[in-house]
Symmetry: C2
Subunit: 473 residues, 2 copies
């Protein structure tokens, strides 16, 4: 297992060095021996690293000479522009495509580029299984008992300790656990809002938020969002008089993958506090940074308790465990009241298992590997898209997270592309899912958390081929 880890990690590092332009086409790579020394790995592991990179056509070996970079850095695809939703409040239901696309969950005969959850192949399943067994031995009543209302204390403590990494200084008593992040967002929206209120969100936006808002009778205002720096501050400022609640995914949101600069986060927090508009911060992707630096959270700039910080392990470790949480700031009592009324307790055993997984450092070890894999996947996706998708295709440039936003030429209706791809056993997420308005018809989201291999590459090429064919119809 550790061997597997090393070999994957080193291959991902070199792949990302090539993709980032540190090595150029034709450059000679370090010798096998040099690689051993540099990364403290065995000769066998080093050879396996180069074999793997060769199989990805990133490098080739010349007998008696060494290993050389074959692939030039892909032509940088242009970024999509800032979104321009119309500044009108909507109480539309989410597009029917959402239900259609989500009905593919669990369909193992499909390649699911559409579903934003990590593939089981990238998760530490054996370790989790063991941790769950440990949890049922450690818990009173073998996990049949309810948790304390605020949730598993070990888990809350581990989350509090980890908050230092994003500039937070949470205590376990600041936290309330939930059954996943959607459950957390639901409690937050119920705690701060009421039917008829207007909720400001990024555009494009995760469709689950539209569904949740709709079910609670909230109106939605989509705001212009920059593909790398997130919500446009001026737009938010102008909209302040219209909105009652703001829900942002500041770090590597889906589908754009944008990450708000610290100064923007700080400005948004103070702007909203000044206007007494609660900020719900959904940070489910924050731990999936490709660089070494974990981005800060809006919550770290919160001086008034106005920010409700939510997260989960559904995008990083175990979607089916239903482990999420909230630091609800000044809304804690109300959130606890709602939790008592709606769920009383989460699943005790999975929450204990994740608490332990964090406490013992296993979570951070897993994240280190998982982030490298996602980064390497991102480069592989972009390279393939650059080679196979229609001319004029643009892609987002996420610095973390599991989503890639692809803007195709205007002629291509991605709702049609979805249907055509589905017939070939491939599911993509059409752009219209991510808005309540008439926009993003030629966009789509691709989830990059499937393990990259020849078969995935070929499926992605197939999507490109369908898109190309659609250009001439």
């Amino acid at each position: 297992m550790d061997q597997e880890f090393l070999y994957n990690r080193v291959a991902a590092i070199i792949s990302s060095q090539i993709n980032s332009g540190l090595f150029n086409e034709g450059d000679r790579l370090p010798s096998v021996r040099a690689l051993c020394l540099e990364h403290k790995i065995s000769m066998n592991t080093a050879k396996r690293v180069y074999l793997e990179l060769e199989s990805q056509s990133l490098i080739r070996s010349k007998p008696q000479s060494g290993y050389f970079v074959t692939t030039p850095f892909p032509r940088q695809l242009p970024l999509p522009g800032v979104s321009h939703p119309s500044l009108e409040v909507s109480n539309e239901k989410p597009n029917e495509l959402v239900t259609e696309v989500y009905s593919n969950i669990g369909n193992t005969s499909l390649t699911l580029f559409s579903i934003g959850i990590p593939s089981g192949n990238l998760l530490p399943l054996a370790k989790l299984r063991k941790e769950l067994a440990v949890a049922t031995r450690a818990l009173p009543g073998a996990g049949t008992e309810y948790e304390p209302l605020a949730g598993n204390r070990k888990l809350r403590k581990a989350i509090a300790i980890r908050s230092a990494a994003w500039g937070g200084s949470l205590k376990d008593t600041d936290l309330v656990t939930t059954s996943g992040a959607m459950n957390a967002l639901f409690f937050c929206l119920m705690a701060v809002g009421k039917a008829g209120d207007t909720l400001a969100v990024e555009s494009p936006c995760y469709p689950g938020i539209f569904q949740l808002a709709n079910s609670l009778g909230l109106k939605v205002l989509e705001l212009p969002t920059h593909p790398t720096t997130g919500i446009v501050l001026e737009a938010l400022e102008r909209a302040l008089p219209m909105i009652d609640i703001c829900l942002l995914v500041p770090n590597f949101n889906t589908p754009l993958g944008s990450c708000m600069p610290d100064e923007n986060k700080q400005l948004v927090v103070s702007m909203l506090a000044d206007h007494n508009i609660p900020l719900i911060e959904d940070d489910i992707y924050g731990d999936l940074h490709y660089s070494n630096q974990r981005p800060k959270c809006c919550k770290s700039f919160d001086l008034t308790g106005n920010v409700l910080w939510c997260s989960s392990v559904s995008k990083t470790l175990a979607p089916g465990y239903r482990v999420g949480w909230i630091a609800p700031g000044k809304y804690k009592e109300r959130v606890l009241e709602l939790k008592l009324a709606h769920s009383i307790s989460s699943a005790s055993s999975t929450h204990e298992a994740v608490g332990n997984f964090m406490k013992t450092g296993q979570y951070d070890r897993h994240l280190r590997q998982f982030r490298l894999t996602l980064q390497s996947n991102y480069h592989n996706y972009v390279r393939t898209i650059a080679n196979c998708f229609p001319k004029g295709t643009k892609t987002s440039r996420p610095q973390g997270g599991i989503a890639l936003w692809v803007e195709l030429p205007k002629e291509i209706d991605t709702a049609r592309l979805y249907n055509l791809a589905l017939k070939q056993g491939i599911s993509i997420a059409p752009g219209r899912m991510f808005t309540l308005q008439d926009q993003f018809q030629h966009c789509m989201r691709l989830c990059i958390s499937l393990p990259w291999d020849d078969s995935i590459r070929m499926k992605l090429q197939q999507v490109g081929a369908i898109a190309n064919a659609m250009m001439y119809k």
Copy 2:
């Protein structure tokens, strides 16, 4: 384990024969040898049965003569009357006592007569632990993956098969799983109602329903309820023009333990269907019948899909597993939409484990023993109350479930009793928790799902002593 089971079962049978008056004071019980033959048990087990009954002071041995009944059948305590809530719609918040009492969950230093969940000592913990390990091996992704939207298929199939026992004929496709029963009730209320609607409930009523209704902006109408036959049909009929939704717990509800006769169930179902008022049926106690006959559900009389039948294993097997379900009738699509928006999936592994536990017959085996224990507890509680509580005390006569409703003399304020008992390490549930109106001040609910022993008997006697002391102040 099987030995344990046998000995408990036979002791419970004889205890209930004594309590039901089949044996009278001074009657001679069957010899140890006769007991062996009658129950197909070993001499050792038979002796243990009589030792246990002796330790409960139900019988005593006379050397060379055998075993004799010591305890006369307790004087039958009078039944509380039919409740008479004022017929006014309320949008009050639930009494603060609710939060206070529920904050005791998980406090192991207290004797929790107040919390209506089964004690871990009465649950098959080792078997559940094993089943959870099996589940994480059997599930794709070791339980880290989301379930299909409708929920674990094995679980839905097992619930469908078991529906024959209550007159149902469900298919797995009629069911949607949820994270416990409160989550099920939430989806039902959201599916059929909207803020401002009026919800009719029994009185007294489980406080969680008030909390849920309040959080959704529903108004509540409490209706007169008979302690053994449940909601008063004439009262419901008169209220029909005022109500939009009806939520009943027809089988062994908490706190009264009433069970609607079949003809009442049938009438309610047709009455509500005629007026197009959805009926949410909460059947979480239906499997806990003391007699051999599982009561029918309203759902079994549902011809129009107007009944949303909900249940869970939180009162029978594993509260902390968060396993519940709905057969939403004609509201199925709406419920699925809500589940997608609010939770996507339940905890995969605990749902798989419970599905297997049902499928393999372990659930029914556990229920058989658990029901006997509850019945025997019921008799033990009533006997102790008859002996130690103030004159004039009345108790409900549940034929199933885990709650006993106790009506004390009018002088006794159970909110005060709660505080006094808490100082002695005992938590009871004051009557005011179970209404939004000014009633039940002298009532309380006792949960009978703690394992009966001398310590529990003494704690119950202590409650009686506090009540007696309050009479003279």
